[in-house]
Symmetry: C2
Subunit: 373 residues, 2 copies
């Protein structure tokens, strides 16, 4: 038995080559199951692995069905960064869901169940997994509903858990109208946590207002900094999670936090407030440099934040609790919305890539690897 | 009894005014002592409080002796930041040393002793202090030798302690030929800690080589990044203390640390290495924005580092140990060098300010408030 798997190869000639490869299906061992993947989302983190630093505007498309292929050049300046990947055809797709169609001796309880799984190589028709790594979905949940159980839900919960563990009581989120951002709002509303949403236009403001967000600040408005200071003063948020990365936004958030903190101080200190302010950069919608004007005293930090090291840090017991909450609330708090469901071959089409590679708010694609290529 | 005290006032008209003010001397209480200040250094942190954001190139000087005065304009754009200081004439001078000339009933043991003190208002002829806050210097130590017992020594020791507490084994220091940098080298050599020194020219390299520094990297050389990667590979340093602040240096250090870490990796990860890399900015020799290109994976942090919060974090018992080490080694490891000793009035002269306000490596002034104004 074999199945199609989407792979991304960086060649020594400086190209990214995407294709569907027929790979043998591994028989499940005693503690394993074989899952037929029926739904797997295209997350920004998947797009990074799919296209790397390739210039997709100059991509070439060929073949149809199982023979669909994409070849795209990597700009000269970015080749060195991609060199470690050269020669390896990597499977793609972080998470997904589907039906358990075979199960090892110790995993018979999962046979026929719809499970959510995390662990790479999900843009494939089949995936063999450890039973312990499968999250069984509540009865009546479809694979499409359970496809995004991990990355966005655990990232949103991870932000809140990080906020708590590092002693903050409210938080800021940028690119806040994203699927992830909407989820974060639903969690915060349910759990009574104050959240300051930073968005880039009026439409995004409306999306969040419509789901009940109390604090939405539009960075395209001239009053942005004043609005942000007001929201930070109201909420006392001193930690932010930034999906943008490049530009001045991280520094602006720290500056606004400092203004809010200084207003509460009784005495002047030329080192600024003693309120510790943190921005974690977890995405790179803007790949340009991060520019910090350091007009925010000395009690601050900026750093990278990534889901996997966070989950390793809190340990399996805590991760288990978070996962269970996601499964329980998958149709409510953690519901994801997709604009379209496509096949593996369609995922390699010019039309689909032009849409999902924009990573636009409100445009998210789901792949069904078994809908026929 | 009264004495002269140097004060810095920010006016509502947007000027910084420096003058010598005759203030009454507070009689020491039962647990206090009165210290005649014989030596107090001009540290970069003092210069910040002295001049604030004033444009010293357009300063006006008047009066002589106890009537010496300086008035300097604050550029329009920087006035808002200085507004919280407006109307307060602040005493200056973080640390110093001198003889205990009066002592309360419970502090008689300190009478006649030379002590080092920290706590502001040291640019003055007299200072009343809690006896517990005085660091008695070993017999045969002059006030000049003990004047810089706190800021530089505790900052250098604090960097090493921070390195240890945060799980790093070697460190990087920028502006490394400074008084503080030389002290850090002496501590590291004595304690067997690997230190990568980043300097800006060949003279600074020589200063550090002459005191035995093993790793000196010159950022003005074309081979800077390669040299830095080599030194980081040798030492395994993953934490840096940066006195510069602005520009690309902090990001270059993180990038070089990441290159050194990736070389040791067996598998490619597009999130970069899992080696956590930290840069603490503790100075602002360059007040421009910090620019981070984020070419260093996701396991990184940049933040502010300040001595006082660090000392509060480790607590009085640990601080006591560090202080005692400084007193014990004040003539060796923690010896400071000054180019000139000046009076309070001279500290307000155009000539002296032109020199000490440059904060140049190797140019450091000491004030003796009792040498006659």
């Amino acid at each position: 038995m074999d199945g199609l798997q989407l792979q991304s190869l960086v060649t020594n000639e400086g190209e990214v080559r995407l294709s569907l490869v027929r790979v043998p299906v591994t028989e499940p061992g005693p503690d394993e199951v074989l899952v037929r993947i029926d739904a797997t989302p295209i997350n920004p983190s998947d797009i990074g692995l799919l296209f790397g630093a390739a210039d997709m505007r100059n991509a070439k498309f060929s073949g149809t069905g199982a023979d669909a292929k994409v070849v795209a050049p990597i700009p000269e300046a970015l080749r060195r960064a991609m060199a470690p990947r050269a020669g390896q055809s990597l499977p793609v797709g972080n998470e997904g869901a589907g039906e358990v169609i075979k199960a090892g001796a110790n995993a018979q309880n999962l046979l026929g169940k719809t499970v959510a799984i995390l662990g790479g190589a999900m843009y494939a028709q089949y995936r063999t997994m450890k039973a312990a790594d499968c999250l069984p979905l509540p009865a009546g949940t479809t694979a499409a509903e359970g496809a995004s159980c991990f990355i966005n839900p655990l990232t949103a919960l991870g932000m809140i858990e990080t906020m708590r563990r590092e002693g903050h009581t409210a938080l800021v989120h940028t690119a806040a109208a994203s699927n992830l951002g909407q989820m974060l709002n639903k969690i915060c509303l349910k759990d009574g946590i104050q959240l300051v949403n930073i968005v880039r236009n009026a439409e995004q403001t409306k999306i969040l207002r419509d789901i009940g967000a109390a604090h939405v600040v539009d960075s395209s408005k001239p009053s942005f900094m004043d609005d942000l200071v007001a929201a930070l003063t109201d909420t006392g948020a001193t930690i932010a999670f930034d999906a943008i990365g490049g530009g001045r936004l991280a520094g602006q958030i720290l500056t606004a936090m400092e203004v809010a903190a200084v207003r509460k101080m009784k005495e002047f200190s030329r080192y600024g407030s003693t309120t510790y302010k943190q921005v974690y950069i977890y995405g790179m919608l803007d790949t340009g440099p991060t520019e910090l004007n350091r007009a925010f005293g000395m009690a601050w930090g900026v750093g990278g934040w990534l889901l996997t090291p966070f989950l390793m840090k809190i340990g399996p017991a805590e991760v288990g609790k978070l996962r269970q909450r996601v499964a329980n609330e998958i149709k409510i708090t953690f519901a994801s919305h997709y604009t379209k469901t496509i096949s593996l071959a369609e995922a390699l089409s010019a039309d689909a890539i032009a849409v999902y590679n924009k990573k636009s708010t409100g445009e998210k694609y789901l792949i069904n690897p078994n809908m026929g290529v």
